[in-house]
Amino acid sequence: MKNKGLSKVDLIFEKVNPKEVLTKAFKMSGDEIIQQVLASGLKGRGGAGFPTGLKWKYTAAEKSSEKYVVCNADEGEPGTFKDREILDRVSYKVYGGMAIAARAIGAKQGIVYLRGEYKFLLPQLLKELESFHKIINEIGYDFKIRYCMGSGAYICGEESALFESIQGDRGEPRNKPPYPTTSGVFYKPTSINNVETLVTVMMIIKHGAEAFTQLGTKDSRGSKVFSVSGDTPTPGIFELELGMTVLQFVNEFGDGDTKAVQVGGASGFCVPRKKFSDTIIGFEGVPTGGSMKLFNSSRSMYNVLHNYLDFFAEESCGQCTPCRVGCQQLLKGVEKVKKGEAKSTYLNELVKLADTMKVASKCGLGQSVGNAFRTIVENFKEEIIY
């Protein structure tokens, strides 16, 4: 299989002059911006990977005098900590990306929904926001950003639950359709983008879509910031070009004894050693919002799975049946198998349940519980049973 190999990139944290980039952006029409972003092939960096340009195109097409740009900074996926770093180091680029999005879709208001645990960043972020508002004023564009704090619920990272939370309601996902592009926060057309996506847009405008398409693969354009943790001598934040295999990643970050990598956090996929070489990190293989957790042979994959299921049983909003009850059944079920109180074949029934959760849950949370469950159970069955 051909791939790009592993190469480090410095786009996200690259210092730019925001006024310069924004001035360039505002010389373009909204439609021109959208065309640029579409041409770049950028897909959302939060994990789901919806094409950003398309999202903006749909939102722009809505006829409404009130539209919103929302920045999803509720970084809650276990093992992800890149948005925190981005906000800490280059928040002005996040704001810039929001302004460009606003220009593209015709919005005058932006909201950053910040993870509750990141409250300590707020004073600094607000100071930088003030400077940003000055720049925007100087350019003469009517756009204001405000902050809204999360309170620690994982589900509020789900876009529609996030809107509910901003509105002061219980953070529960909505039925879709309508999608946020039609009815988002305050039921107005909304473009909701991840922190990193917005920064990437800033860089696409600066360098041009073509430069961006030079990086990555056909399905996964550009570079991405990874949060590397677990059994690694070099944990931290790394910006890498998309398109590498898990093996190449492990060769760079592993401790020589890596038996599995959990790509995409608790809602992502577990890649075992035997599949390292033919699994590409990206939308053609295993997608990730950035979380890369390495496990070496000292780790019990039962404990890993148990930890994830415990997390989901706690963090499901509890609204829909498959997710609320399914998570508890999976958790209790693996415990029974481990204790020898249920036969090992019970795991097959649980995998079927995970499949139901994938197709019948209301939102992405319940739909993705099965990812980790299936990949861990299938690849590390002995560790679950014995």
Binding site: N175, S316, Q319, C320
Partner: protein, 593 residues
């Protein structure tokens, strides 16, 4: 119009129609649970999932609008597997003591289990994994968390129909539950006991508190004389629990059944509904005189009706500053109770301490009302036990009575006579109509100027109704009202009551008299009425009420011969001292948050 295929059948429906509704048009049945015709779409139980070809996941048919060219399949293997799993999952968190449950055979989860999840389940029981409460603190209903399946119908009912939110969702994930403010018992939160949640709960998690056994004990106690009264709305709904379609009038059969059950006197709340009109109508006219002629600042208008105990508790919690606007009249149930152990006892030469007074009500809040400390005017508890329409149906079944073959009979005498005006109390606008029929005649000496006495502007299921009646040709005593325009308003469902109250606070409600019923449709849609409920069912019951009225010989409260005799022999005249002692009450301010 949107064109789509469901199970390879073509259907064309208006934009915005749900897949579920489109399927119903094709007579394709899709099971549902959290869905309810009175409530907003939730899409959270997932029982109604179907397959949309080309879609990544299954879709909830109740929550998904149709789109052009959809190819829907409702019975594929994928759908069946998911549906079975979902019902089984719900059963693992539901304490299935079905054979002992009050909702046995009437439980929607049980019906689904019967279809999709019979036999052994592979899943593990979760009921004991979480601490649960069975809250019996309310005199009206029991909230049993161990039977809750989190469909949130009750939550939506309380918020959307009643604007109370006494119950709401708390916690998340495995700990998610339907809770009250600070997890307090239901008797200690802002709850009106209206029972609308009980009407919509698919399982036994919310049921009325039953007093069936207490009533049987009284009936079989040879020392006791058991008096029963039946509210207007019961007679047009009871049939639904006994095999009739909604809207069937079963008044005569019900009376026979009550006699067969062993009640010693079978009497009619309609009688005290007529009495209420005499008292409340007089109160209204007196208030108008005090305000308009005497310039009395302490007397308040608009005057509110006071027959709905859910509404009373609502205003006591939420708008206590308007308590002086409430009519001081007790509800017909409580007027009846006060008279049963005084006037009735005297007439029948009975020892009031030996009388057990039972009422059959379309209402759960009446159970609370009967327990209010103010309701002991007779020197005893005026009403001993309140049964809902549903409980009466249970008793009739317990007694093995074949309801369909019963011959109709009539109510017993004293306090058994009624008029059409008393009957229409059961529908929204009915109290207003009855009051106008009498008040207009008192003031002008003539009948209300509406064809066949039907005051149609105050009828119907609109949430808030308004009407203006010009008073002309007053008798000398009421000359001050000559030419006046009496402005009235009617609301049903507390969310509509709240709309009127908000307008009133803003000074935008120039009414003299306002009728408010806590439940949608009025008492016909009460929390004690047969389940299920929907606007169509309520409409049928309402039509039956008006038909009952039209079939009555007497249609005006002041013509009720029992009422006339009561004033002559016992009370003197409306709003007399004796009437005040027995038939009027006061209200208390309650906490709000």
């Amino acid at each position: 119009m949107i064109n789509l295929n469901i199970n390879d059948h073509f259907v064309s429906v208006p934009e915005g129609t749900t897949v579920l509704a489109a399927a119903q048009k094709l007579k394709i049945s899709i099971p549902t649970l959290c869905n309810h015709p009175d409530l907003c779409v939730a899409g959270n139980c997932r029982v109604c999932v179907v397959e949309q070809r080309g879609a990544r996941t299954l879709i909830a048919s109740c929550a998904t609008p149709v789109s052009e060219g959809m190819d829907i399949h409702t019975n594929t293997l994928k759908v069946r597997n998911a549906r079975k799993h979902i019902v089984e999952l719900l059963l693992t968190e539901h304490r299935s003591d079905c054979t002992k449950c009050y909702k046995n055979t009437k439980c929607e989860l049980q019906a689904l289990a019967n279809e999709f999840a019979f036999g052994d389940t592979i899943f593990l029981d979760l009921v004991e994994d979480h601490p649960y409460t069975i809250d019996r603190s309310s005199p009206s209903f029991i909230k049993d968390d161990s039977k809750c399946i989190h469909c949130q119908r009750c939550v939506r009912t309380c918020a959307e129909l009643q604007y109370i939110s006494a119950i709401a969702v708390a916690n998340k994930g495995a700990h998610q539950k339907i809770s009250s403010f600070h997890d307090r018992p239901m008797s200690h939160v802002v709850c009106t006991n209206c029972g609308q949640c009980v009407n919509r709960c698919p399982t036994g998690a919310l049921v009325e508190k039953t007093y069936i056994d207490n009533v049987w004990d009284a009936i079989y106690d040879p020392e006791k004389h058991v008096v029963v009264q039946t509210a207007p709305a019961v007679r047009v709904a009871l049939g639904e629990d006994l095999g009739y379609d909604p809207g069937e009038r079963v008044t005569g059969k019900m009376v026979t059944a009550l006699k067969q059950l062993g009640f010693d006197s079978v009497l009619d709340t309609d009688f005290t509904a007529d009495l209420t009109i005499m008292e409340e109508g007089t109160e209204l006219l007196t208030r108008l005189k005090k305000v308009l002629v005497d310039g009395d600042k302490k007397t308040k208008i608009p005057m509110f009706t006071s027959c709905s105990p859910g509404w009373i508790k609502f205003i006591e919690h939420k708008y206590p500053e308007y308590l002086p606007n409430l009519s001081t009249c007790k509800s017909p149930q409580q007027m009846f109770g006060a008279l049963a152990k005084t006037y009735f006892a005297k007439s029948k030469k009975l020892d009031p301490s030996k009388i057990v007074s039972v009422s059959v009500m379309p209402c759960t809040a009446k159970k609370f009302e009967a327990d209010r400390p103010e309701m002991r005017a007779s020197g005893y508890k005026d009403i001993d036990f309140v049964l809902t329409t549903r409980e009466l149906a249970v008793m009739i079944k317990q007694a093995g009575i074949d309801f369909r073959v019963l011959r109709p009979s009539t109510y017993d005498s004293v306090m058994g006579d009624s008029t059409g005006a008393g009957v229409i109390f059961g529908a929204t606008g009915g109290v207003m109509e009855a009051a106008l029929r009498t008040a207009y005649e008192i003031v002008t000496g003539r009948e209300v100027p509406f064809s066949n006495l039907n005051i149609t502007p105050v009828r119907g299921l609109d949430g808030v109704k308004e009407a203006t009646i010009k008073i002309e040709g007053c008798t000398d005593e009421w000359k001050f009202l000559e030419g006046a325009e009496l402005k009235v308003a009617i609301a049903h469902g507390l969310i509509n009551a709240n709309k009127i109250m908000k307008r009133l606070k803003q000074g935008k409600a120039p009414y003299h008299f306002i009728e408010i019923m806590a439940c949608p449709g009025g008492c016909i849609g009460g929390g004690g009425q047969p389940i299920p409920t929907s606007s169509e069912i309520r409409e049928n019951r309402m039509m039956a009420i008006y038909s009952e009225d039209e079939h009555m010989v007497l249609r005006k409260s002041h013509e009720n011969p029992d009422v006339i005799a009561l004033y002559k022999d016992f009370l003197g005249k409306p709003n007399s001292h004796q009437a005040h002692e027995l038939l009027h009450t006061h209200y208390v301010e309650r906490e709000s948050y």
